[in-house]
Every structure is written in C-alpha cells, then in structure tokens.
Amino acid sequence: MKKVFGRTRTLRDTHTHYCPGCGHGIAHRLVAEVIDELGIRERTIGIAPVGCAVLAYYYWDLDICEAPHGRPPAVATGMKSVNPKNIVFTYQGDGDLAAIGFNETIHAANRGENITVIFINNAIYGMTGGQMAPTTLCGQVTATTPSGRNAERYGQPIHVAELLGHLPGVTFSSRVALSDIPNIMKTKQAIKKAFQAQMDGKGFSIVEVLSPCPTYWRKTPVEALKFIKKDMTKIFPLGVFKE
C-alpha cells in the first residue's frame, strides 16, 4: 500500500492541549512541514513564547528553548550570534510580540537579525482568559473590554506586518490567514519563504498569521473562520509587504 499522508518528522506524535478550532495546531504543523521540506531540522533552534503556545516544545521535535514574555527576538539574537549557521525561529502571539515585546521585535527587525518570526495574530490573549490584545479589533468584546475595544481609549489595532515591512533590516514580511484550505496553503508558502530568506542570510523575516481563537471569540470553530474572512481581513489585509 502506498502511504500518501503522515505525520511530518518535526511534529511529535502526541496530543496538543489546544482548544477545539484553535489555529495553533495547524500553524505548528505548517512550521514543522516547512522545516522538514527544507531539510533544516538538525540545525534549527526554536523559541517558544509565553502564552497558549508556551508548550510548543512538547509538539516540535527539535532543539527548543523558552523565553520570558516578549523577549524571544532578543533570545534569538543571542543564539544566532553564537552560531550563525543555526536556523533560529521564534513563535509568538500578539501580546508577546506587539505589546510587551514590541521593543525587542522592532529592534531585532531593524538590526536585520537573520531570524524568522512566526507571529500568531488571534486578536486576543488566550492563555490568560481572553483579554484585549494590541491587535484586538475595535468593538471586539474581551475580558478587559466588556463594551468592546474603544479606539478613543486604546487606539486602533496595530498592523505589525506593514509596520515592520518599512524597516530596511526586514527582508520578508507577509500576512496570511488560516481561514480555509487555500489560505492555509498560502500560509505554508509564506512560512517557507521566510525560512528560505534566513537560509540565504538575507535578514529578518516575519509571517503574521491570522489565526482563530473560537474559545475567547465566543464563537464556534466555523464561525471563527468566518470572522477571520469577514472581519479580521478587513482590518488586517492579507498580502506581502516586503520581499
């Protein structure tokens, strides 16, 4: 019998702790598939974030390290400075990357650190119970914005992919979505380009992934995907902002 589909090498054979309909499982798999297709597993080091994906090191079978909340780009900078041949990537949520760690993000990007950032934008703090993130949409109800995010108080959601795309140190910046199969395939392509850019020594690469959080969006998994398509992509347009 011919085997046509299986678990990719870098993904461990285990159950994840993610909620039904969560995007992390898909994103993890895409990262793992890209690493295996590029044949870089044996020289790759991952950095797991603080947040829902904090346990990513149970799911990826590669050398991996944790970092304090928001600091993965600084940790990656230190790692890459020891052995530039290592492929170093961070996997960060919106609170991690765009709130507490925006300084680390923007400076690592501006230095053109030759690292890859997988940025999961689900417009919410998942792990801590659904609080407002820097990427929460205006009007979106969260634990800390019970009447919806108010732009007069909190400003508009931050556009990370566009913002970083302006920096000369950034070689690749793209926004993709896990909203349906074609977009999932596009997400994989973007992740592959980002890793390829690092392999080619081109500098900082980032993929912003719009990812569903049905639990704290108070939606069913299907409604969550619709929310990405209808609402999130209106505010966060998909595309390549730097290549």
Binding site: R41, I45, Y57, L62, I64, P68, N83, N103, E104
Partner: protein, 347 residues
C-alpha cells in the same frame, strides 16, 4: 609579571576576554560605561560579539540566548539597569544557564545618583527576581580582585549552571589601580545540554516552566540541592586577626579596603582589632561567625548603605547586641578615621 595601571571597569572587561568570554551584550549606564566601551573594542580585536542592546531587558535575554547555545556570555550594568535585568536573571536561574552579570552599584533608590554605593546587597544576595533561586555573588574590593573574581565567575557559572554576579561599585569601577593581568586557565566544563540543532541525538529543551503536578516542586528541590553544594564548596572569605581581636570589622568591596586601613590604625594605637571580608556574599561565610565562640567580641559592620549585610552578620553571630553598624546610603564613602573612631568606641 609586571603590573599595569587600568581603570576598574576595563579590568573586568579584560578578565572576561581572558576567561574566554566572546559574547557581550550591554546598554549604557553610568558608572560602568568604560566596561561597555572596552568590550566593544576588545570583541572586535578578538573576533567576538559585542552588541549594544535596545534595553537592559534585551541585553540579559541576549545573554540567555547565547548561553543556551554554549557561549560564555556576559552583561554589565549599574543599579537601575540591574533592576531591569531581574526578570531575565530569574529565568536564567530557573533554566539553569550559566551567565555573568556585573553590577557596578550606584546610589538608589530610583534614579538615585551616580556615586558609589553598596545599596543592592539585598537585591543581589536575597533574590531580586521572582522565585526561590540564588545567585553566586562575588564582591571584589580592588582591581586585582576585579580581575581574578571576574575570571572565577565564568568558571563558577559553567560549573554550577548558575548565574554569577560581580557586585562592584562606582568607586571600584572608576578607580585606576595597578593590576597584574595573569594568564587565566579557564576550566573547561562540558555542556551536554547546549542547543545546537538536534543532529544525531534526541532534541533538547531548555525551560523553567514545569506545569505537570509536582514537577516544579521537584525542579526546585534540584535547585536547592545545587545551592547546598555551592554553599558547602564555594564560600570565600578573607580574615585578619580575628582570634585575637576584641573588635572585628565586617565589610566587603570598597568599604573593606577602607576598613583595612582603619584596623591598621587601631592596631597602631594598641587596640586589638581584626576584620572579616566576605568575598562571596552568597554563599555568605556563615561559619566564620558561628565558629567564633568568644561572646565578648564585638562586630562592627561597615557598609555604604543603610544596613543590609548587617542582617546576615546578626543572624550568624547569634546575638544582635554584639553587632554594631556604621553606614549611610546615597553615594556616601566612609572615612578611615571615622571607622577607627567607631572601633575605639566599642573597646
């Protein structure tokens, strides 16, 4: 070997280079800027990595990353900057990574001033960051010790997989003093935990997060066992005339060198005086005090703060009435004659 005249901050830098440090990350703050500038120059010369970070937070996390990949990595700062590094230091301790952190102390709290101080004793010795962890804290009192103890710090960090702090102050950092740049034979410690990419071996994981039931308790027990080993093996302390002395002055760092002169002055005037100079502030040289059975002896603790190490001396001496304190905060430096007067009063 001949001596050369060098600024204290630069001595720390040269010791680090000689000890094999090739990764330095720092952010400007007075009074330690000579160290950052020195490392910028020397790392270029020796083919190492110098990076001026965007913040103290970033610098300590760059150290974390470099250390996770096996490098001898260092950062330095002064009091307010060290406060910012506490998050990273706690993670480094929890993840059991080696690292050397230099604090060239200045006056506090807050922005304080840029004058020499010893006000970060509690922060260095009792915690600073969150969680039950310990730093190995080394307290140099002259340029030669800045050199020797910085080199030792890298060996201790690697041996115990633990962050080590050099607790200096603005006076030591700024002062120029002759120093012998001895050849350093660094300990080669195997690091079978380093992240290099999982080639021909199982994948490795470095973390301080332990969510499974009982796992964090177990991890903490392992850390405590390590701290007990450090306590048993690594206490360093200089003593002078303590068996004959009626008054024993206890001081470290800059105040210790002034204390030595005051003790000499007392002896010249026929007063039986001695001193205890802790070199490791953690582990604290508890046994020196506990072994001192003569209950008539008095201790005088001299610190450039409002009284921090004095609490450890009281704890170890077992009798608070025997312990006096002389010190001030805010950039104050004790005068030899004033220390002498206090010794005299205790006789």
């Amino acid at each position: 070997m001949s001596k050369i005249l060098m600024c204290g901050n630069e001595v720390i830098g040269e010791a680090a280079v000689q000890a094999g440090c090739r990764h330095y990350f720092g952010y400007p703050i007075t009074p330690q800027n000579e160290l950052t500038a020195y490392m910028a120059r020397r790392m270029e010369e020796v083919g190492g990595v110098f990076l001026q970070s965007e913040s103290e937070l970033a610098a300590i996390n760059m150290v974390l990353g470099a250390s996770a990949c096996g490098a001898r990595a260092m950062t330095s700062s002064s009091s307010p900057g060290i406060s910012l590094k506490q998050e990273g230091i706690s993670y480094i301790a929890g993840m059991e990574l080696p690292a050397v952190v230099v604090n060239v102390m200045r006056g506090g709290p807050g922005l304080g001033n840029i004058a020499p101080s010893q006000s970060d004793y509690f922060q260095a010795v009792k915690g600073g960051g969150h969680g039950d962890y310990r730093l190995i804290v080394l307290a140099p009192s002259c340029s030669q010790e800045l050199y020797d103890l910085t080199a030792l710090a890298f060996d201790l960090a690697d041996t115990y997989r633990n962050p080590v702090m050099i607790l200096a102050d603005g006076m030591l950092g700024q002062m120029m003093e002759p120093v012998t740049l001895k050849k350093i034979n660094s300990k080669r410690v195997k690091k079978p935990w380093v992240l290099t990419g999982a080639k021909n071996r199982p994948a490795r994981m470095l973390r301080s997060l332990f969510l499974e039931a009982g796992a964090l308790e177990k991890h903490n027990e392992k850390l405590q066992e390590k701290y007990r080993r450090i306590k048993a093996k690594e206490v360093r302390c200089e003593t002078y005339n303590i068996s004959r002395a009626e008054v024993i002055v206890v001081a470290y760092g800059s105040s210790a060198r002034l204390t030595k002169a005051a003790v000499k002055m007392a002896e010249e005037r026929g007063i039986k005086a001695g001193y205890i100079k802790p070199i490791t502030l953690w582990p604290f040289p508890e046994e020196v005090f506990i072994n001192e059975k003569d209950k008539d002896k008095r201790y005088l603790v001299v610190e450039m703060n409002e009284g921090q190490m004095v609490e450890d001396v009281e704890r170890c001496a077992g009798d608070r009435k025997r312990v006096s304190f002389y010190g001030h905060a805010g950039g104050w430096i004790p005068q030899v004659e004033d220390i002498f007067k206090r010794i005299k009063k205790l006789v």
